[in-house]
């Protein structure tokens, strides 16, 4: 541990910080009491014992991306985002936005701490 971390200043600051946290009124989120119904199945992932797609498809062809055979370019929603470092706003105006949106399964907060 560095000397800085051991300095009296830091010790004092940590003690004050902990004391202020310890003095807070109980504020545990009510999540525990909420009925847990959402299983977030999009995250589940699967082993199964079914066979796949038959006799012709990806399994019998390989694509050599190091040679000239790789002609595919990313062509999904990545076109929505600029990668130009001079762009302050990374997301381009959604002119041709038709991207499917799925429902949010997760609580999402922009930042912590919120206070």
């Amino acid at each position: 541990m560095s000397n800085t971390a051991k300095s009296a200043t830091v010790i004092g600051a940590v003690a004050v910080a902990v004391a202020s946290v310890a003095a807070m009124h109980g504020n545990t989120p009510a999540e525990a009491a909420a009925k847990e119904k959402c299983y977030g199945i999009s995250l589940a992932g699967q082993n199964d014992c079914a066979a796949g797609p038959g006799t012709t498809c990806a399994g019998t062809s390989t694509v050599d991306y190091q040679g000239n055979a790789w002609t595919l370019v990313p062509a999904g929603d990545c076109v929505l985002y600029s990668t130009d470092a001079s762009d302050e706003v990374y997301k381009l105006p959604a002119t041709a936005d038709g991207a499917p949106r799925e429902g949010a399964l997760d609580a999402l907060e922009r930042d912590i701490p919120s206070a």
């Binding site: 940590v14 847990e36 999904g76």
Partner: protein
């Protein structure tokens, strides 16, 4: 040019396994011929099952990555990955751990520099989803412990990270891009983002952490003392506010316990 002789077919599961992942490899010698011929299409059923099921496992683990590059590109990219990194474990729920790092060095994807970072987020979410179920350490529990610790010993407190806690740092706005792609209305601005992923109880939650938060939480989850973690965060972010970060961490269920200083 001299003609390369076709490779000799071998028998047994080693030959079978090799031929599954390499479509140019001969069909194993012990596979029964039909009308004198090696049954190419019949063997192709197994080749397809293996490769397609693994690509599909990656697609279900990395849905946002797939949306970002499109299905055709994703499937081709995943097809390369599954041959280079076939699973070691039979648990498909954890397949693809090396995918984010691999994507970052996959030349055809370099026009999407944030792709690997988004993959890291998705991986972290998957791991948090399947992590052990442990009640998070609450603010009340912390207050009870803290009341028994002398102020000068406070800096020596160490916390145990909740098993679902994952921290992702990216040079790209991966949190905003993920959120934008998954139905949340957030602006996507230039610049790196730090993300905390946690499943204190039933739901995986994800938050962008403010400056210093990533370093503070990384140090805490590595078992460092509160003072050392605060010092690391302060070194990175001047004016790091320990009280507000500690409060937020406790309220988010980031820890599963605290170790009071000994002696």
């Amino acid at each position: 040019m001299p003609k390369t002789p076709p490779p000799e077919a071998e028998a047994g599961q080693a030959a079978f396994a090799a031929a599954l992942l390499d479509a140019d490899a001969p069909i194993p010698a012990d596979v029964a011929k039909i009308r004198g011929q090696a049954p190419e299409k019949r063997f192709a059923v197994y080749r397809n099952n293996v490769v397609v099921s693994l690509i599909s496992a990656l697609a279900s683990a990395y849905p946002t990555v797939k949306r970002l590059v499109g299905a055709q590109f994703f499937d081709a990219m995943a097809g390369v990955y599954v041959r280079e990194h076939p699973p070691i474990s039979p648990m498909m729920i954890f397949y693809g751990a090396a995918f984010p790092g691999w994507v970052e060095s996959f030349p055809p994807a370099e026009t999407v520099p944030y792709l690997g970072g988004v993959a890291r987020l998705e991986r972290a979410r998957r791991e948090a989803y399947h992590a052990a179920d442990i009640e998070p350490f609450t603010m009340e529990q912390f207050q009870a412990v803290a009341s028994g610790v002398a102020p000068e010993r406070m800096p020596e407190l160490r916390f145990t990270a909740h098993p679902s806690l994952r921290l992702v740092r990216s040079a790209h706005p991966v949190f905003s891009i993920w959120a934008d792609q998954n139905g949340h209305d957030v602006p996507v601005r230039q610049g790196g983002e730090d993300v905390m992923i946690i499943r204190p109880r039933s739901e995986v939650t994800m938050r962008q952490t403010p400056p210093g938060g990533f370093t503070f939480l990384s140090a805490m989850s590595a078992g460092q003392t509160l003072a050392a973690a605060a010092a690391s965060a302060e070194a990175e972010t001047q004016g790091f506010d320990l009280a507000s970060h500690l409060t937020a961490a406790l309220e988010s269920g980031v820890f599963s316990g605290v170790k009071a200083p000994e002696g």
